[in-house]
Symmetry: C2
Subunit: 258 residues, 2 copies
């Protein structure tokens, strides 16, 4: 098969290069060894859709955030676990405000960038792995669309259970999601229908990330409505207590430990 990537730390390499472009620290990617090459994350979907997105937003300061990110950090209380800390933009902001925050990520390269940028408390691993330890938090953040980590029906109870194991009594999840069904684009509408025919949620995306010679394995990433989320939460230790749709189709969901 032509053009198959090598499995590796896609996100880490991407962030390292984005950080080099932003700061001049480390070699910057070049075209022909001369002109700067933009750092672009590539996202493939299993139906053949592919999109590129400039990586700079992973390092963006609050002035360049979307409004829902500001409202999300304003809802934080107590000690915080930033799940999928990425380039550390949220963790750095909370840390500067004096909020105790831990950054969690499966990407060693992402954690290296966070460390260089000054994030002090970092953990490498999945939520399941971290939940086997003894650290507990008051706020669990799933920003940057990371509500998607719920994956789908098969994974929701396990994922939310691991989050419950990481939670102090009364803890909350603050999660950023997107309603996927506002589109009339046949590429997306057809994908949602094909998903449902296979017993999947409409917005249960099967994706892989690529950067230069590296790719991830294919993984599920869930884009769902607040109503679908409510169904997935039902029967778990969490209650969906608030949905902020001020920036629809994007929303912030707040879940509280029942």
């Amino acid at each position: 098969m032509l053009g198959e990537p090598r499995i590796g730390d896609v996100f880490g390499e991407l962030l390292r290069d984005a950080y080099a472009v932003e700061t001049g620290i480390g070699p910057r990617p070049l075209v022909g060894g001369r002109l700067p090459r933009p750092v672009i994350e590539i996202i493939e979907r299993d139906d053949g859709l592919i999109n590129g997105a400039p990586a700079a937003h992973y390092l963006a300061g609050p002035d360049d955030w979307q409004p829902y990110d500001h409202r999300a950090v304003d809802r934080v209380t107590g000690s915080v676990l930033d799940i999928g800390v990425g380039g550390g933009r949220i963790a750095l902001h909370l840390q500067a405000r004096g909020v105790p925050v831990t950054g969690l990520d499966v990407s060693p390269g992402a954690l290296a960038v966070c460390r260089r940028r000054g994030v002090r408390d970092l953990v490498l691993g999945t939520v399941d792995e971290h939940a086997t330890g003894d650290r507990r938090y008051d706020t669990l953040l799933l920003l940057g669309n990371n509500l998607g980590l719920i994956e789908g029906r098969h994974r929701a109870a396990g994922f939310l259970g691991a989050l419950a194991a990481l939670a102090r009594p009364g803890a909350r999840i603050i999660a950023h999601g997107t309603d996927p069904y506002g589109t009339t684009d046949p590429v997306h509408v057809g994908y949602h229908e094909s998903n449902r025919r296979r017993g999947r949620l409409g917005g249960q995306l099967r994706l892989r990330l690529r950067y230069r010679e590296l790719g991830t394995d294919w993984f599920d990433y869930l884009v769902c409505t607040p109503e679908e989320l409510a169904e997935l939460v039902h029967g778990t230790p969490w209650r969906l207590t608030d949905v902020d749709t001020a920036d629809a189709p994007y929303y912030l969901a707040t879940l509280r430990l029942a």
Copy 2:
């Protein structure tokens, strides 16, 4: 096989969206139906390397060109065939200077964008197809790295022969190329070596382009040194008369009909 694209007019769709973003004419691509989505061309290589590049440069005016593009258009004489006219940036500039210019492209969508932008004389097809007609030119332009259309040893004589059939007596080719061998990046150095082991030129890239759900077939695109070019030109109706390396590793090659 997960994630295989549908074959289609990748370049035309890309340019149509880039044009919509630039002008507000036609629907602009959005993320979640709300935030603007950057228009990014995705280039896959057969070893698994993938790169994204913002498409805006295809529509850029002279103020945003690289210096070699300015020197290329300053070398033009007589009637011009702009091979791979793309978004029409070179053709529009020549047209505004009163130079008779024909834009040739295999992408119907690219020609549609050129037409809307005001390029008057456009032909759909390959150089071989166009050479079967009776139009002849004084200058044949291969800008935007389109020296790559030589593909490799198997295609060089045929391609240069078709260009000769399109040429008036004394005509010149002005072509933009890149020396691929200045890099020490193991991803590229290894690719060059693997190519040579298979009897290909080191910089004979096997690529496909992708945009959203569309992809091209895999094709060869040659990145070669002026010395390799000289060998490929040998025995054809053309003579390599000048190589401008002021912006190395990029160069402008001038070939004259022998």
